[in-house]
């Protein structure tokens, strides 16, 4: 089967989970025998990718493309593609228009069996490719504009693109039931057009000789030796991630049980607000802000943790929870995060329920047996979630799309 995959990023040039998911999904599909042509909007080497052909739609460097903000639709103004200037590669719409033009030519040349477009960024290209060739279009929704904008209304142009893409698609993959429900309720798409395809984790990708270095977070190791429990979250600091609730829950928990510290790894527009909130609540010295972490500092942040919290208000999936499980954390996840749909050995809470979160943190921190049990059980559980199963599911979706099992 020949697949034209339309994406926005791949490791190591990714700024978040979208690139990671596309990478593993493609790799697993290739293992199942698929031939994949993957289009990205920038030009760079991908040293670890030899299982598919990567096409660069523009000559931008990945860094220039980051500047456009793959996750931040606020920078997109009101331009429709006809008005966008393909020579303006500083403008997201200009780059997207270039991307569409590139895909128009490529799809005519390749004549794939199916077009698989990831998120709104590439949906216009997917629609255009389908229009030109009548090849079935599968749209994969990793996050909707409703997720990205938190409680705000989001960008109307992005909503419009998502709506059209979802309407035009022959089949839709949603990364969780949460996302599926948003697509049904907010975009009015019939449920039977949508399949839930949860993401997975590639356990092998972590076996790269990594060894925890306890000097990276030396101070945290010192407080751990004093009997403290380290609660970690690794994320972008945006409204969508619900971190203000986590800070308030932290304050509540510390009131009852003081031997807690919180590692906030990451960065984002909400950082200053969180710092201020922590100081208002009198727990500045309980919360450690690392800034953006990569490589060793990123892996070690998981390793130093005892408990991982995903506090998202709306999280389509949430791969970091699986990564945290791999590094031995007990998990506390909001019910509003997709990943909590596929795991059992976890604590769940509603994102606004700070009391419950505080309670769960204290419970794990004060009970060595609960902590050991949760850490052990999730370790057994997460690794069963395999990208091979995702690939198999994708292939059956492709086949149903080709047969025209659609609305």
């Amino acid at each position: 089967m020949n697949i034209l995959m339309l994406g926005w990023e791949l490791p190591p040039h990714n700024s978040g989970g979208l690139g990671v998911a596309c990478y593993h999904m493609s790799k697993a599909l290739a293992l199942q025998g698929a031939k994949i042509d993957f289009v990205v909007p920038y030009n760079a080497k991908h040293p670890d990718i030899d299982f598919m052909t990567i096409h660069s739609a523009t000559s931008l460097t990945p860094l220039e493309r980051y500047g456009l903000g793959a996750y931040d639709s606020k920078t997109v103004l009101e331009k429709g593609l006809p008005e966008a200037d393909i020579n303006d590669l500083k403008d997201m719409r200009g780059v997207q228009k270039r991307y569409v033009q590139y895909v128009e030519k490529l799809v005519m040349k390749l004549k794939p069996d199916v077009i698989h477009a990831h998120d709104w960024l590439t949906m216009e290209a997917g629609m255009r490719a389908k229009e030109l060739t009548n090849i079935p279009l599968v749209v994969h929704v990793h996050a909707t504009e409703f997720d990205r904008s938190g409680s705000n209304s989001g960008n109307p142009l992005v909503h419009e693109i998502e709506y059209q893409g979802l309407m035009m698609a022959d089949r839709i993959c949603a990364v969780s039931n949460i996302t599926k429900n948003i697509i049904i309720q907010r975009y009015g798409i019939p449920a039977d057009k949508i399949e839930v395809v949860h993401n997975a984790i590639d356990v092998n990708s972590f076996n790269d000789g990594y060894q925890y270095d306890d000097s990276t977070y030396k101070y945290l190791e010192a407080v751990k030796a004093e009997g403290y429990t380290v609660v970690v979250t690794i994320t972008r600091f945006t409204i969508q991630k619900g971190l203000a609730h986590l800070v308030r829950a932290a304050a509540k928990a510390c009131e009852k049980y003081s031997k807690l510290v919180f590692l906030f790894a990451g960065d984002g527009e909400q950082r200053d607000e969180l710092i201020e909130l922590a100081s208002e609540l009198g727990i500045s010295d309980k919360i450690f802000f690392t800034g953006f972490v990569r490589g060793k500092q990123w892996r070690d942040a998981y390793s130093v943790g005892d408990i991982f919290v995903m506090s998202s208000v709306s999280e389509p999936f949430g791969l970091t929870a699986l990564e945290a499980a791999h590094h031995g954390n007990a998990l506390i996840l909001t019910k509003q995060s997709g990943v909590s749909e596929v795991l059992n050995s976890i604590f769940r809470y509603d994102f606004w329920d700070e009391d419950k979160l505080a309670d769960q943190i204290i419970a794990i921190a004060t009970s060595p047996s609960l902590k050991a049990e949760m850490q052990h059980d999730i370790m057994c559980e997460y690794s069963k979630i395999s990208w091979n199963d995702v690939a198999k599911k994708c292939i059956s979706i492709y086949e149903s799309a080709r047969k025209g099992v659609s609305v």
Binding site: E280, S284, K286
Partner: protein, 409 residues
């Protein structure tokens, strides 16, 4: 009858700015004040060398020149310990020039906390230790005894006056703020309410700020300010009164007001102009107190500073980050002192310098007056994060020293 006179008082200070100090430095590196990037405003050496070139050297040269030319010229200086340490390291010639001007006997050194701290409001024992360390350093360097006290940021209230009175100071400095003075003029010597022997000198903030803040501002209707015009204003203000207290940062000359504004020439011309009238003179702070009896009592139950429109401590203690920082730092006092570890104690004290919390100020978010709050950090939040990481490292060092206890997250 004593001549009417100007009391010129300049405050000389540089803090030890905290470097970009991350979570990953905590418990690993203890070099809080050594920013590695030389071309960065957190690099204390770079800043010091720059300001020495722009301000300390040319201004001290000018002061020496004026002292030589005008026997009636007098000056008072407060020089912080953190300034002296940095000058000794990076510009010893500046120390030498200060020694020369003090040796004339016409330049008085004012007492303050060595570390330019707000310790009075947190721990009087620590505050007194810092005053003593400063006294000792001034004695060692200049061979003089300080007699008049100024608190950091001119932060003053009645209980500070009582403390200074009891400690044996003959004078203390404060802001001459209208709501306190009401109908009274700052151009007299006063006595703080509830004290016996101490005199109070109040900053004439209009005339001081004309020079310190507005001098080079081309949008100011009075720009350009000439020595004649300013001399006229000082005359109008003093008329039949005793003194005009011009209190400001030393760095006004050459740093806040660059040389190309004409500040140096202006000052020299103004001194000349003022002294050309035989009824005029200059006083040191002690000289003014000796020359005049207090004209009345002044009470300031609430703390008044020389900052902002509010003249309070909100630029240093106005938000929760600032309050928390100082709460953390002063809560370490007993454990730190107990170590007897000179390096640890010195680092802890350098972190008490008021500039650190000033960099965390968010007041300007409201009034939009960004330029009034210079900071070497990207934001008040960054300043706070680096500071908290340092506080944790102090705890870690303490923990090692005492072999357990008290890390507290």
């Amino acid at each position: 009858m004593s001549k009417r006179g100007i009391v010129m008082y300049l405050h000389v200070h540089q803090p030890y700015r905290v470097r970009k100090y991350s979570v990953f430095d905590t418990a690993n590196n203890h070099d809080y004040f050594d920013e590695s990037d030389y071309n960065c405003d957190r690099n204390n050496e770079q800043v010091f060398r720059k300001v020495a070139e722009k301000s300390y050297r040319p201004m001290n040269a000018l002061i020496e020149k004026i002292l030589a030319k005008h026997p009636d010229y007098k000056l008072s200086l407060s020089i912080t310990g953190t300034f002296i340490e940095q000058a000794e390291q990076w510009a010893p010639d500046v120390i030498e020039s200060f020694k020369r001007i003090v040796a004339t006997g016409r330049v008085e050194i004012v007492s303050e906390t060595y570390y330019h701290s707000l310790a009075f409001f947190y721990s009087v024992p620590e505050f007194e230790r810092q005053v003593e360390i400063h006294k000792a350093k001034i004695r060692e360097l200049f061979g003089v005894e300080t007699q008049v006290f100024r608190n950091t940021e001119l932060a003053y209230n009645d209980s500070l006056a009582k403390w200074a009175d009891g400690y044996g100071f003959k004078g203390i400095l404060a802001e001459g703020w209208d709501p306190i003075l009401d109908w009274r003029s700052p151009n007299y010597v006063y006595r703080p309410t509830g004290t016996k022997n101490i005199a109070l000198l109040l900053k004439n903030y209009r005339l001081s700020d004309d020079m310190a803040f507005r001098f080079g501002d081309k949008n100011w209707p009075e720009w350009p300010l000439t020595a004649d015009k300013y001399n006229g204003w000082v005359n109008d203000s003093i008329t039949d009164k005793e003194i005009v207290n011009l209190f400001m940062d030393y760095e006004t000359f050459g740093e806040h007001q660059w040389s190309d504004t004409g500040i140096f020439d202006f000052y020299e011309a103004f001194v000349e102009k003022w002294l050309s009238n035989p009824v005029n003179t200059f006083y040191t702070v002690s000289g003014a107190i000796d020359a005049f009896e207090p004209a009345g009592e002044i009470s300031m139950p609430n703390t008044v500073t020389w900052a902002d429109m509010e003249r309070d401590l909100t630029a240093w203690l106005g938000n929760s980050m600032q309050q928390e920082s100082l709460r953390y730092i002063y809560s370490l006092e007993d454990d730190i002192m107990r170590t007897g570890d000179i390096q640890l104690i010195s680092d802890w004290r350098k972190l008490q310098t008021s500039d650190h919390v000033y960099y965390m100020c968010t007041k300007w978010f409201n009034d939009g007056d960004v330029h009034a709050y210079f900071s070497p950090y990207e934001s008040p939040y960054d300043a706070f994060l680096y500071y908290i990481n340092v506080v944790r490292d102090l705890r870690w060092r303490l923990h090692n020293h005492h072999n357990g206890g008290g890390l507290n997250g």
